[in-house]
């Protein structure tokens, strides 16, 4: 095994935070290397240092060359890519209006007489895509691709003719199981071709299935370096990430009063988004899971409920009364319904506003007197929720965009918890969240239900669904395919759910 890249004692400080503190990473050719750690441990920062997005404050990066390892200083991501180090960042980096081909060739557009050579852009992109053995038309605008396809385009873009290292930061966070499997098949092939692949993920099952070695970061330091993964159990890895013996959280036993008046009822609802005849009921204290494949119309249903799409037939009842919800403000103030969006970067957060404002935005009305927001009350509320959710920050006046991915997710949940709703729609709450925090989130959501909140949980994470939900409604093609009472038996429930998704007739 030859070492392709090694990073030694990397240090990176941001205002108020030492993101990396002597982190070390060693990559060998022809292997898949897992980079693990809790939210905010410094994984993305390490990747950005290796690809010239940031410059390290200390330490060095060595890259294998024809005559031995050489220290490199990447001034920009282009430098890194030219040296054979490609990356797919945690946040999407494609230009939606551009075609697949243009996006792939963006960094090095082939030119002829000063103009972009369109034919070559297309042929080069086609070659990149064929390398991955994926079938996407290079002329499609990226905005028309599915999330999974975008991810593949990102990989194609990251690879160049002589690339040696590919860094993937949470590539499967928003993919379904099948899509992730397909992506990992490509990862394995790249490995067999001799690439060193780095994989960041919070889905440990996937890590154990594909990775060969593992580095664990904790608080910016490497606590395990390039160890063969086979030597560790899942629990050992989690303990390393957390820094102490980790104990599984046990969720409280909840009982739902079946005679309680439902908090939210959808009765034969059809919408302009294409839903037909959707019927759902959520009682106070109950968690109704809404499961389905990506594209089954779950988030769209939530949006229709909030007045962002039109309801064309049927009726919505809130606490027994017919409700015509105009917009999110109306839902929040008149019906006390909150909606935690799935897509934090575009829909959930104000990335260049402070964390405090991001959390307090839903409650300014309550916090103000004579139209002026009371600063002290706002500070207290923000401190309360950052503490309760364990949001890792230097100061509440920091910009939300500076938080690590997982901590951003917590902020987008915090603002709806602060809003103090009776009914909460939570869309994919634990995408990109580490093991410990995920358990804490589950505890939190179960706790909210225990206090009497009615929760509609949208999630593509089947284990999560079976852990949390009282009943699981399965959606397919913008309609409810069936509903199951959850007995928390993983094997039986997952089979029943899968059967419903694939359209077998027997609904339990």
């Amino acid at each position: 095994m030859s070492i392709v890249l090694s990073a030694e004692k990397l240090v990176k400080t941001f205002p108020g935070v030492r993101a990396l503190d002597q982190a070390t990473l060693t990559l060998t050719a022809g292997s898949v290397h897992a980079l693990l750690g809790e939210n905010g441990a410094g994984k993305s920062t390490l990747i950005k240092l290796l690809t010239g997005v940031y410059r390290p404050d200390g330490g060095r990066v060595l890259l294998a060359g024809p005559d031995g390892p050489q220290e490199v200083h990447f001034g920009s991501p282009q430098d890194a890519q030219r040296a054979g180090v490609g990356v797919v960042h945690q946040e999407r980096n494609l230009i939606p209006a551009f075609s697949v081909a243009e996006n792939i060739c963006l960094q090095h557009l082939p030119r002829r007489k000063g103009l972009v050579d369109r034919a070559r852009v297309r042929s080069e992109a086609r070659r990149c895509l064929e390398l991955l053995d994926v079938d996407i038309d290079p002329d499609t605008p990226v905005s028309r691709l599915s999330v999974a396809q975008m991810q593949l385009v990102e990989i194609a873009k990251a690879l160049s003719a002589d690339s040696k290292v590919l860094l993937l930061d949470e590539p499967t966070a928003s993919l379904t199981g099948d899509e992730a499997d397909r992506l990992y098949a490509i990862v394995r092939r790249l490995r067999d071709q001799g690439h060193a692949v780095v994989l960041v993920s919070h889905k440990l099952e996937e890590i154990f299935a594909v990775a060969d070695t593992v580095t664990v970061l904790r608080d910016g330091r490497s606590v395990a370096e390039a160890e063969p993964l086979a030597r560790h159990s899942r629990d050992q890895i989690v303990d390393l990430m957390v820094g102490r013996a980790y104990q599984e959280v046990r969720l409280p036993q909840r009982t739902v009063d079946p005679s309680a008046e439902p908090a939210l009822v959808l009765d034969g609802v059809s919408t302009s988004a294409g839903h037909h005849d959707v019927g759902l009921t959520v009682r106070p204290g109950e968690i109704l899971g809404l499961y389905g494949l990506v594209g089954a119309g779950r988030s769209e249903l939530a949006k229709a409920l909030l007045g962002l799409e039109q309801i064309t037939a049927g009726e919505v009842r809130v606490h027994g009364k017919t409700a015509r919800i105009r917009d999110v403000g109306d839902a929040l103030r008149r019906h006390r319904i909150g909606y935690v969006t799935e897509n934090r970067k575009e829909e959930g957060l104000f990335l260049d506003q402070t964390i405090a404002r991001n959390i307090a935005v839903t409650v300014w009305r309550r916090l103000s007197r004579l139209g002026l927001v009371r600063d002290r009350a706002e500070r207290a509320l923000v401190a309360d929720y950052t503490e309760r959710l364990g949001i890792r920050l230097a100061s509440p006046d920091q910009l939300a965009g500076q938080l690590s991915g997982g901590n951003q997710q917590k902020v987008s949940l915090a603002k709806w918890l602060a809003a103090d709703c009776d009914i909460l729609i939570i869309d994919e709450p634990t995408v990109g969240i580490d093991v410990r925090t995920k358990a804490a989130f589950h505890e939190l959501i179960a706790g909210l239900a225990e206090q009497g909140m009615a929760i509609l949980l949208i999630s593509s994470d089947l284990p999560e669904m079976i852990t949390l939900a009282d009943r699981i409604a399965v959606m397919r093609d913008f309609a409810v395919a069936g509903e199951l009472v959850n007995d928390h038996e993983y094997d039986r429930m997952s089979q029943a759910v899968i059967r419903l998704i694939h359209g077998s007739q027997e609904a339990a």
Binding site: V17, E225, D327, Y339, F350
Partner: protein, 358 residues
């Protein structure tokens, strides 16, 4: 390959900053406001050494303050929509239409000075709200909408003035206008104690600056406008009535444009058709020099005040040194370009130093 020596179990709460965390801030000179203060001070020193008349209270300083006041309000009018990431290309013409309404009220109705002002402000706010409504409902870019509005208003204002006056200006001089034009607080004494030599229009600008500052810093309305500017989709999904906030921001812009029109009319001593013609460029310069982003989501009122001061100091200084009008324009353009590049340079240097010193 090795494993780090087993660490003692740390009970660090996840919310605690990682060990070794320390705070680091950008150097003080990276603050754009401070840069403006320094540039203004240097220019004042330069101009007064070249021409001592620059420090003459009556000849230069008092008119300078009056002009700065007008352009502070002009800058704030633009800032009100920059907060959304929008533009108001019709600031000048909104001012013109509002001052026409004021002139008409004084001329035909004989209302007192402040009542006429109130009428004009209402007209300004209404026309701004109309622009905002069109932008919010149609989703057409604010630049296009207000540019079209500007064009329409240009015709309308000309027609109105030819119908209602000799075609150029109202002849009427409401009581108090002359005082507003010529007096300073030094003309008002209580016994021996007289006020400072500050023109009477200055408090109008102060109130406007404080009001806008309060709006965006503490008021829910202003903050929600900023959030709408920062991310309209997230704002809507957070329960902010984004359409109403867009209308409110544009109405505020119209109102401030009307106020600036009134102040300029007071400085000139006439309600004329030419008011507002010189507003457009300075309206962008003041906030942008002061660090307000064109992208929306962040504003600086203090920076706008300093930016307006800088442009007027340059203007007055060159004027005093007897540059011709064309030269004046040329040099102002150059000086402002230099100021903007300097600002950019400072930001880059500060960033670089912050990176290497950590």
């Amino acid at each position: 390959m090795r494993t780090a020596s087993p660490q003692p179990p740390t009970a660090s709460a996840p919310s605690a900053a990682p060990p070794g965390a320390r705070s680091r801030v950008l150097p003080f000179w990276a603050n754009p406001r401070l840069g403006l203060v320094i540039v203004i001070a240097a220019l004042v020193a330069l101009f007064s050494s070249l021409s001592p008349a620059f420090l003459d209270p009556k000849l230069t300083l008092a008119p300078l303050q009056a002009d700065v006041s007008v352009y502070v309000v002009v800058g704030l009018a633009q800032l009100a929509v920059l907060s959304l990431g929008h533009m108001n290309m019709a600031v000048g013409r909104m001012a013109a239409l509002s001052t026409f309404a004021m002139g008409l009220a004084y001329d035909r109705l004989g209302v007192p000075l402040l009542v006429g002002l109130a009428i004009g402000l209402a007209v300004g706010a209404a026309i701004g709200a109309l622009a905002g409504l069109v932008i919010a409902k149609t989703g057409v870019n604010s630049f296009v909408v207000t540019l079209a509005l500007d064009f329409g208003l240009l015709g309308l204002v000309t027609i109105l003035y030819t119908q209602a006056t000799d075609g150029v200006a109202f002849a009427v001089k409401p009581a108090g206008l002359a005082e507003l034009r010529f007096d300073t607080f030094a003309d008002y004494c209580a016994g021996e104690l007289c006020g400072p030599r500050v023109p009477l229009v200055v408090p109008f600008a102060l109130v406007a600056a404080l009001g806008v500052g309060l709006l965006f810093r503490f008021a829910r309305l202003g903050r929600e406008i900023l959030m709408t500017g920062a991310n309209p989709v997230a704002a809507e999904l957070s329960g902010i009535p984004t359409h109403r906030r867009i209308v409110a921001a544009h109405a505020t812009s119209g109102l401030l444009a009307a106020l600036a029109g009134f102040m300029l009319a007071a400085n000139n001593g006439a309600f004329s058709a030419s008011i507002g013609e010189s507003f457009l460029l300075p309206s962008f310069l003041a906030p942008v020099l002061g660090g307000t982003l064109l992208a929306g989501g962040a504003v600086s009122v203090l920076g706008t005040v300093l930016g307006a001061t800088l442009t007027q100091v340059i203007y007055k200084g060159l004027n005093l040194l007897q540059f011709s009008l064309e030269e004046l324009k040329l040099y102002i353009g150059l000086v402002l370009l230099a100021a903007l590049s300097l600002d950019r340079l400072r930001a880059v240097l500060a960033e670089r130093r912050a990176v290497s010193s950590s």
